[in-house]
């Protein structure tokens, strides 16, 4: 595309099994000028990130090509909590347990306001917990996490 890393947009990976919610989050993120990749399961998210999912709970066998390009590295993951197969919490744990990906900030979305659930996610390393329906004022909170994520990524690369 011709633009160097300094001009590259922040890239957000959105994970949600609901088609409507994927469309909504994609529009919200794009209207904030973020680049978006939206997938419908935790397994597909891990595939995209280049992490193998050993448990293979995803019933859809269609492969997602792993993302190896510098320009489209993922700067933030926003995931629904309640999903069939791998939950958003399980996805969060796998990201945080991964040496190559744990610098990526993760945000959880949920339609249910359950304090124990929220705390569990925050304790596991989620940056934010958004109640659905997610709105513009929630998406506005992502920028500082995205900037920090990109900085950590740069640091990791130079080591």
């Amino acid at each position: 595309m011709g633009s160097g890393p300094a001009d590259a947009k922040f890239h957000v990976l959105a994970v949600d099994d609901s088609l409507i919610d994927r469309k909504l989050i994609e529009r919200l993120l794009k209207s904030s000028s973020f680049q978006v990749t939206a997938v419908d399961s935790g397994s597909k998210a891990l595939q995209f990130l280049g992490l193998q999912d050993d448990e293979k709970r995803d019933p859809q066998p269609t492969p997602v090509p792993p993302n190896h390009h510098q320009e489209t590295e993922v700067n933030l993951i926003i995931t629904d909590y309640c999903m069939p197969g791998m939950t958003g919490y399980e996805l969060l744990r796998k990201i945080k347990e991964s040496k190559s990906l744990n610098y990526i900030p993760v945000v959880i979305m949920s339609s249910e306001n359950i304090p124990t659930r929220i705390n569990r996610c925050l304790e596991e390393g989620a940056e934010e917990f958004f109640l659905k329906p997610v709105q513009m004022h929630d998406v506005n909170k992502l920028r500082p996490h995205l900037m920090r994520g990109k900085q950590s990524q740069e640091t990791t690369k130079h080591q």
Partner: protein, 146 residues
């Protein structure tokens, strides 16, 4: 000129009534705010997805409740999905009907669930009609040059 003004008023009054009567909540406003010149059909697209998805879920619910041995976890899962999507577009009355439905699922009350399904179908039907009318009024206004 008179035509456009009248259409505008009709649209505004109809829209107000939808909020006043609780059919729509603020989330619908959020959807409209996401629509712009680069995404001029956003609201209609999302609502169309909602119609398709809801029809599918209502039909699955009917099937699930007809079974000899009702799988309430499955029923609850379908209602949870419909609750989520109706909430995402601001379809408040449909969302509320889903919330009541889930209580009967928790109690494993088939009679209650069947009643709720009927109520849910009614609310969905009403919502669909109202939104289709709203879109028609918007289209009329556009065509009249408003």
């Amino acid at each position: 000129m008179d035509g456009v003004a009248q259409l505008k008023k009709r649209l505004a009054d109809y829209t107000t009534s939808l909020y006043d009567e609780g059919y729509l909540d603020d989330q619908f406003v959020q959807l409209q705010q996401l629509q712009d010149e680069s995404n001029p059909e956003f609201v209609v697209e999302v609502v169309s997805l909602f119609f398709q998805d809801s029809q599918r879920l209502l039909s699955e619910l009917a099937k699930a409740l007809e079974q000899q041995s009702v799988d309430f976890r499955k029923v609850d899962a379908y209602v949870h999905q419909l609750k989520g999507s109706s909430s995402s577009i601001g379809a408040q009355r449909v969302q509320r009907a889903c919330i009541s439905f889930r209580n009967y699922c928790d109690d494993q009350n088939i009679e209650g669930c069947l009643k709720c399904l009927q109520q849910l179908k009614n609310e969905y039907s009403l919502m669909k009609n109202k939104l289709e009318t709203l879109f028609k009024l918007e289209q009329q206004l556009l065509e009249a040059g408003g």
